[in-house]
Symmetry: C2
Subunit: 741 residues, 2 copies
C-alpha cells in the first residue's frame, strides 16, 4: 500500500531539473580563453566544409562517384527518361498554354540545377500535368485571346498568336521565378514542414480534381473545336458546357487521329505493364506515337487536306536568358504560392518514398532550396515550374538509375532534340499530344477508388477527399487548395472539439480503469476522462460533460448550498438572540439544550452519508456543526442532484497534451465550484510537460495543492480510499500486495 503513497510526479519533476543542472555542470568544464579560440579555429574549417556540403550536395557525392558501379545504370536510366521527356514536355506545354518547345526547355535546365543542389537520387524533375495546368490557368487569365485581337487585312478580326504566345511565355516565366523564390525562401527558413498540411486524402483528392481540369482543357484539341476561355470560379463548368454546345462542330479527322493515337497508347501501355518483368526497358510508345503521327501527317499531307491543327514552328537552338517581368509579381503572387507548395509536396513525397526504399536520406529543406533554385534559374531560361513526375521517376529507378547523373544524361538527350531534331516535329498534330496527356492521367483517375475505400475506413478523411475534389473542381486550383487546407485543418479541430467523454470503471483485481460501464465504479469516486486534449474549443463542454456523466448538477448543488448557508446563518442569529434573551432571562443551562438539539439533528443529517462525512472532514469552519435545523429539504435536493453520494472526482488527464489559458481556467473553476459543494477533485496521469505548463500558468495554489496530482488513477483511488479509511472493494489479488507491503 505504501508504495503508492508518494507523489511520484513531483519527485520526477524535481529530479529532471536536478539532472539537467548536473548535466550542464558536467558539460561545461570551463576551458580557458585561448583553448576556446584554438578550438573554434580548429572547428571552423570542418564546420564551413559541412555547411557547403549541405547546401551544395553535389560536392559531397560526385567525387566519390563510382563509375564501375553506377555509370551503366545511370546511362540507361538517363536515356529512358530523356526519351520520355520529349513527348511529355511537348504535351504538357500545351496544358500550360505555351508552345511545345518551352516544355522541352523545362525538361532541360531545371534538371541540371537540381543535379547540383538536389538530395534525392531517383526523382526525375521536369514537366508535370498538375503544375502545367496551374500555369496554364494563369497564362490564360492574364493573357486571354481577347487581348490580342487585330484587324485582319480583309476586315475580319483575328488573334495575333505570336504576340500572345510571347506574352504567355513571359507570364509563365515570371510566375516560375516567383515560385522558385518562395520555395527557396521557405527552404532557407527551414519551413519544409508546411507540406505536412497537405494530408494524403487532400493530395489525392486535389490531384484527381486537377486531372479533371487537365482532361477538360484538352478536350478541345481532341474534338478540334474552339471554345471560349473562362477564368475564375466555375470556369471548368462553363468550359464543359461550351464544349458540349460545340460538339456538333467536331472536326472528324482530328477526332479520328485522337482515337487512333489513344488506342495505340493504351494497348501498348497495358503490354508494358503486363510484361514489366520481361522487358529490359518499357517500349517508348509515346515517342513512337509522336514520331509516327508526325511522319503520317507530313507525308499524307493531313494538314492541308483536313486542316488538322499541328504544333507549328519549333525554333532550333537555345534562347538567351531573359529577366522576368517584375510588374507581374503582384498579379501572380497567390498562384505562385500555390504552385510552390503543390510542386514541393509532390516532389518531397516521391523523394521520401525512394529514399526509404533505397536507404538514404532526403533533406526536406534542402529539397525546397534545390527546387526553388531550379525554378528561379529555369524561369530566366524560359522554363516554367517543375516538379518530379511519378511516371518518369519510376522509370528512372526501375531502369537502374543510381544517382542524379541520370538526370544530366536525360538533359543531354533533350538538348540534342532541341538543337537538332526538334524542328522535325512541326507537323505533329496537337490532338496526338492531348492523347498523351490523357493516357498519363490514368493513375490520377484511379484515385477515385479512394472514395469507397475511405467510406469503409475513415469517413472524416472521405469528407476531406470529397471537399478537396469538389472545391478544386469548382474554385480552380489555387483557391481550391486554400479551401481544402482550411477544411482539412477544421476537421482536426472538429475531431478534438467533440471528444468522447467517459466515466471509468475499475477492472477487478487489477489497477486498470477502463471506459466502459461493464466495470463497477468505486462507490463515492467518479473517474472522468475526455478522449482528447482539453483546449479552448471543448473546455466548456468538458465541464458540462463532467456534470452530466457524473450525475452531479453543479448549479442546483451550489444553490442548495447557498440556501443552507443562509438558513444556517439565520438560525445562528436566531439562536444568538434567543441565547441573549435566555441569558438575560434565565442564565445558564439552556446553552446546553441548544447544543443537544444540534447533535440530535446532526445524526439525522447523516442520512446523506458521504455528503455529511465530507462536510465533517473538509469544512474546517465549525459553524456547520452548530445548530443545524430544518435542512431535510436541502438534503433531499442534494441527494437528487448527487445521486450516488460521490465525494471525490478524479480527472484522468492522460490524454491531455498541453493546456492553454482556457483549459487552466476551466480546471480552476472545477476545483473551486466542486470544492464549494465539498467535493474533492484530483488530477491523475498528467504528462510531465502538462504539469510544467500548469506550473507556469500559476495553477497550483493553496486551494489546489500539488498533492492533488497523482501519476495514475490507481494512485489517486488508493489515496482517497485510505483517507476515507476504506480499502478497495472488489480486490482479490491486489489485497496480497497490500498485506505484504
Amino acid at each position: 500500500f505504501q508504495r503508492r503513497e508518494y507523489y511520484v510526479q513531483r519527485e520526477v519533476l524535481d529530479e529532471i531539473r536536478l539532472d539537467e543542472v548536473a548535466e550542464k555542470e558536467t558539460c561545461s568544464t570551463e576551458p580557458s580563453l585561448t583553448e576556446r579560440v584554438k578550438e573554434s579555429l580548429r572547428c571552423s574549417v570542418p564546420r564551413v566544409k559541412q555547411t557547403v556540403l549541405n547546401w551544395v550536395p553535389v560536392l559531397g557525392w560526385l567525387p566519390h562517384y563510382s563509375i564501375r558501379e553506377n555509370a551503366i545504370g545511370d546511362l540507361i536510366a538517363g536515356c529512358s527518361v530523356g526519351i520520355m521527356h520529349l513527348p511529355q514536355g511537348m504535351a504538357y506545354a500545351l496544358l500550360a498554354s505555351l508552345r511545345p518547345v518551352f516544355g522541352l526547355y523545362t525538361s532541360l535546365y531545371p534538371v541540371l540545377v537540381y543535379f547540383i543542389f538536389g538530395t534525392s537520387r531517383h526523382i526525375s524533375l521536369g514537366t508535370f500535368a498538375v503544375i502545367s495546368i496551374m500555369i496554364g490557368s494563369v497564362t490564360e487569365r492574364l493573357a486571354p485571346d481577347s487581348n490580342f485581337i487585330v484587324n485582319g487585312t480583309n476586315g475580319t478580326e483575328s488573334v495575333d498568336i505570336d504576340e500572345r504566345d510571347a506574352r504567355r511565355v513571359q507570364i509563365a516565366c515570371t510566375l516560375t521565378v516567383l515560385t522558385g523564390i518562395f520555395q527557396f525562401l521557405l527552404g532557407v527558413v527551414r519551413f519544409g514542414f508546411v507540406v505536412t498540411y497537405l494530408s494524403e486524402p487532400l493530395v489525392r483528392g486535389y490531384t484527381t480534381g486537377s486531372a479533371c481540369h487537365v482532361s477538360i482543357s484538352q478536350l478541345k484539341y481532341v474534338f478540334g473545336v474552339k471554345t471560349a476561355r473562362y477564368a475564375g470560379p466555375l470556369s471548368l463548368i462553363y468550359t464543359l458546357v461550351d464544349i458540349c454546345r460545340l460538339l456538333p462542330q467536331t472536326k472528324v479527322p482530328e477526332l479520328v487521329v485522337s482515337l487512333v493515337a489513344i488506342s495505340v497508347l493504351i494497348v501498348v501501355k497495358e503490354i508494358n505493364d503486363c510484361y514489366k518483368q520481361k522487358l529490359p526497358l518499357p517500349i517508348p510508345i509515346e515517342l513512337i506515337v509522336i514520331i509516327g503521327a508526325t511522319i503520317i501527317t507530313h507525308f499524307c499531307g493531313l494538314t492541308s487536306k483536313y486542316n488538322i491543327d499541328v504544333v507549328g514552328e519549333i525554333p532550333s537552338g537555345l534562347k538567351a536568358p531573359r529577366a522576368p517581368d517584375v510588374t507581374l509579381f503582384s498579379h501572380v503572387i497567390g498562384d505562385a504560392f500555390a504552385v510552390a507548395i503543390v510542386g514541393y509536396a509532390i516532389n518531397i513525397s516521391l523523394g521520401k518514398t525512394f529514399a526509404l526504399k533505397h536507404g538514404y536520406k532526403v533533406d526536406s529543406n534542402q529539397e525546397l532550396v534545390a527546387l526553388g533554385l531550379s525554378n528561379t534559374i529555369g524561369g530566366f531560361f524560359q522554363c516554367y515550374s517543375v516538379t518530379s513526375s511519378l511516371s518518369r521517376s519510376l522509370i528512372q529507378e526501375s531502369t537502374g538509375g543510381k544517382t542524379q547523373v541520370a538526370g544530366v544524361i536525360s538533359s543531354v538527350i533533350v538538348l540534342i532534340t532541341v538543337l537538332k531534331i526538334g524542328a522535325l516535329f512541326e507537323d505533329l498534330p496537337k490532338a496526338v499530344l492531348s492523347t498523351i496527356v490523357f493516357v498519363n492521367l490514368k493513375g490520377m483517375y484511379k484515385q477515385v477508388l479512394d472514395v469507397p475505400m475511405l467510406w469503409r475506413t475513415n469517413k472524416v478523411d472521405l469528407l476531406v477527399w470529397l471537399v478537396t475534389f469538389t472545391s478544386t473542381i469548382l474554385l480552380n486550383l489555387d483557391l481550391g487548395l486554400a479551401v481544402s487546407v482550411a477544411f482539412s485543418m477544421l476537421t482536426f479541430i472538429f475531431r478534438t472539439q467533440l471528444p468522447r467523454y467517459s466515466v471509468l470503471g475499475h477492472v477487478p483485481g487489477t489497477d486498470l480503469y477502463l471506459d466502459t460501464d461493464s466495470y463497477k465504479q468505486i462507490p463515492g469516486i467518479k473517474i472522468f476522462r475526455s478522449s482528447a486534449t482539453i483546449y479552448y474549443t471543448n473546455a466548456e463542454m468538458y465541464l458540462e460533460a463532467l456534470q452530466e456523466k457524473s450525475g452531479i448538477e453543479l448549479g442546483k448543488l451550489l444553490t442548495a448550498k447557498k440556501k443552507k448557508d443562509a438558513k444556517l446563518k439565520r438560525q445562528q442569529e436566531k439562536e444568538k438572540k434567543k441565547a441573549k434573551k435566555l441569558e438575560k432571562g434565565q442564565g445558564n443551562g439552556v446553552a446546553l439544550h441548544g447544543k443537544e438539539t444540534s447533535t440530535h439533528h446532526l445524526s439525522k443529517g447523516q442520512v446523506n452519508w458521504a455528503y455529511q462525512q465530507d462536510t465533517a472532514m473538509f469544512d474546517s469552519d465549525t459553524e456547520c456543526h452548530n445548530g443545524i435545523q430544518n435542512i431535510y429539504e436541502d438534503i433531499e435536493e442534494n441527494e437528487k442532484a448527487c445521486v450516488s453520494g460521490t465525494h471525490s472526482i478524479i480527472l484522468d488527464m492522460s490524454t491531455t497534451s498541453f493546456v492553454d489559458t482556457v483549459a487552466v481556467k476551466t480546471l480552476k473553476n472545477i476545483f473551486r465550484d466542486f470544492g464549494e459543494i465539498d467535493m474533492d477533485i484530483y488530477l491523475a496521469g498528467c504528462q510531465a510537460c502538462v504539469v510544467e505548463q500548469l506550473e507556469t500558468a500559476d495553477f497550483f495554489s493553496k486551494n489546489i495543492p500539488k498533492t492533488r496530482l497523482f501519476v495514475t488513477v490507481h494512485d489517486a483511488v488508493l489515496h482517497i480510499l485510505k483517507q476515507k479509511g476504506q480499502s478497495l472493494p472488489l480486490v482479490n489479488r491486489l489485497t496480497f500486495n497490500i498485506l505484504i507491503d
Copy 2:
C-alpha cells in the same frame, strides 16, 4: 504474473458490444402496433408542449411568476437599467453614426422580444460599444458624406445630412435584420458551438482592439474637429493621423465641456465603486450629466455663443415598421456574420456567468434564437444590432433583478422617454455623449493588463491576444476577427504538430513508465510516446522521432538487411552449385561438411544476441539458418545502427485521441519496416475509441495481429519479457506479486 497475460482491451471491446446489444434488446420490448399508436398519441401532447416551452420560454416561467418574491426586485432593477439605457443608447448611437433616438429605439424593442424568447434572467440587452462601432464602420463605408454633397445656395458644397442619416438608418437596419437571420438560423441548426472558437484571449484582445476603434472614432467630438472618413484596412491609422493634423483647429469650448463632463463622470463612478456596499442604488451619474449638460447648454445659450455641436432634433413618438433594403444584403453579408458571432459571444458568456452564479440553465441554442429574433424584429423597427452589456447586466443583477420582467420595466422607461421627454435633450452636446462612451470603455482598456499576465503564464495565448489586437486595429473589426480566429486555430495545430517525444524509463518497483532519462530503460525494449495525438501534420515526424529517440536507423538497417539477404542468396546458390559439383564429383559426405560450416557461423553470429534471437524466433523461413557466411560486416553495421540490441518497441498510444488515415498508414509502415529488420512493435494504452477506429480502418491483419495490443505499457513489457524468458530487472516489491501469482 498471469493476471497481466490477457489482452483486456480486446475483451473489453467485446463486452461493450455485447452490452450494447443486450441493452437494445431490453429496451425494445416489441410493443404491438396499437399500443405504439396509443403511446405515440399519449406522448405527443406533452412532447408538443415541451417543444413549445423550449421555443417560447416565457410560457414556462411567466405563469409561475411569484409577485411576492420577485416584483420589487424586478421593479427596482428595471428602473435602474432603464435609466442607464437613456445615456448609453444615445451615446452608442453616435458610435453607429446614427442619430441618438435610434439608440433609444434599440433599447426598447429588442428587449421586449428577448423577454419572450430569452432564457437568461439577468442580462440586459441593448446597445453595446463594440457592436455599435461595427455597425458604424458599415454605415460610414456604404453611406459616406461624399455621397450626399449638394450645392448650397451660395455656391458652397454642403452635405445633405437628413438624406444621409436616413440612408444610414436603412443600412444599419438591413445589417441588423441580416445579423438576426444569421443568428436565428445558427440557433435552429443548433450551431451554438461556433462561439467556442472565440477563445478567451481572443475575445479580450478583440474587445481591447475594438475599444481603440471606439475611442478614436469619438475623439473628433471631443476636440470638435471634422475628420475625413476612411474605410478598409488601416483606416484607424489614417483617422488618427487626420485628427493629429487637425488638432490646431480644436474647438476649445467643446474640449472644455468634454473635460468637465469626463472628470465628473470619473469621480462619481469611482465613488460608486468605493461605496458599492453602502449605496442602495449606484448614483445614475450618466443621466445626471446629460441632464445637467443639456440644461446648461440650453439656458446659457452655449450653442449659439460657442457653436457647440449638439444632438439636434429628436422626434417624439414611435415610427412605423419598415422593411429592410434587401438589395443591400450582398454588401453587408460579411459584416453581418461578424456582428452575429461577436454579439452572440458576448451575450452567451455573460448569460452563462449569471446562470452559474444563480443556479439556472441557459440554453445556448435558444439564446441564439432569441437574439436572432430580437435583431430581426428590431431591424424592422429601426433598431440596430443588440447584445447584452456587461455594465447594465451587472446593475440589473446587483439591484435585485430576478427575471426578464426587469427588462420589460426598463423598456417602459425608455418608451416614456421616447414618447414624452426625448425632445428635451435636443440641446445636449455630442461631446458629452462621447465622454460617456469613453468612461464606459474603462473595463476594456484594463484588459491590456492581460499582456504581462499572459507573458508569465502562457506565451502562446499571449501571441493569440497580440495577433488579435493588432489585426483588429489594422484590419478593422470584421476582417480582423476572421484573421484572429484562423490564427487561434493555427496555434492549436502548431501545438499538436510539434509534440514532445520521449522514450520512457521504468520506475523501479512499480508499473510506472515515465518520460525521463533518470529511470533506466529495460534492456532491449524501447517505450516511445508522443505528447500529442498522431495525425496528418505530425505523423511523419513521429516516425522520424521514433528512429532518432530509439537510436534505430531504419534506412541503414533495411539496406543492411537487403545486402545480407542478397549475399545469403548468392551464398546459397554458390553452395547449391558446389553441392551439385561435389555430388557429381565425390558423392555424399560433403553435404554434412557444409552443414557443419553453417552451424559454426551461426554461433559466431550470436555476438549480436538480440538481433539473432529475434531472427530465430520470428523469421519462420528457415533459409536464415542455412549457410550464413561472411556476415561479420553486416553484424557490425547492425550494431552501429541498433546500439543497444533493441528487439522490441512499445508505442505508448495513451495520448492518441483519434486516428486518421495518415496516422494509420504511418503505424502500418512502422510495423512493416521494423518488422523487416526483425523488431517487434507493440501498441499500448489505446483508448477504446481509438481501437474501434483502427478496426474500421482495417489496421489489424495477419502481420499486425490484435495480440500486439496491450492495455498498459507494463502489460506489454511483461509479455515481451516472458516471451524472451526474462523477468523484469530492477524488481523489488513487484517480485512478490509474481511469486504469489
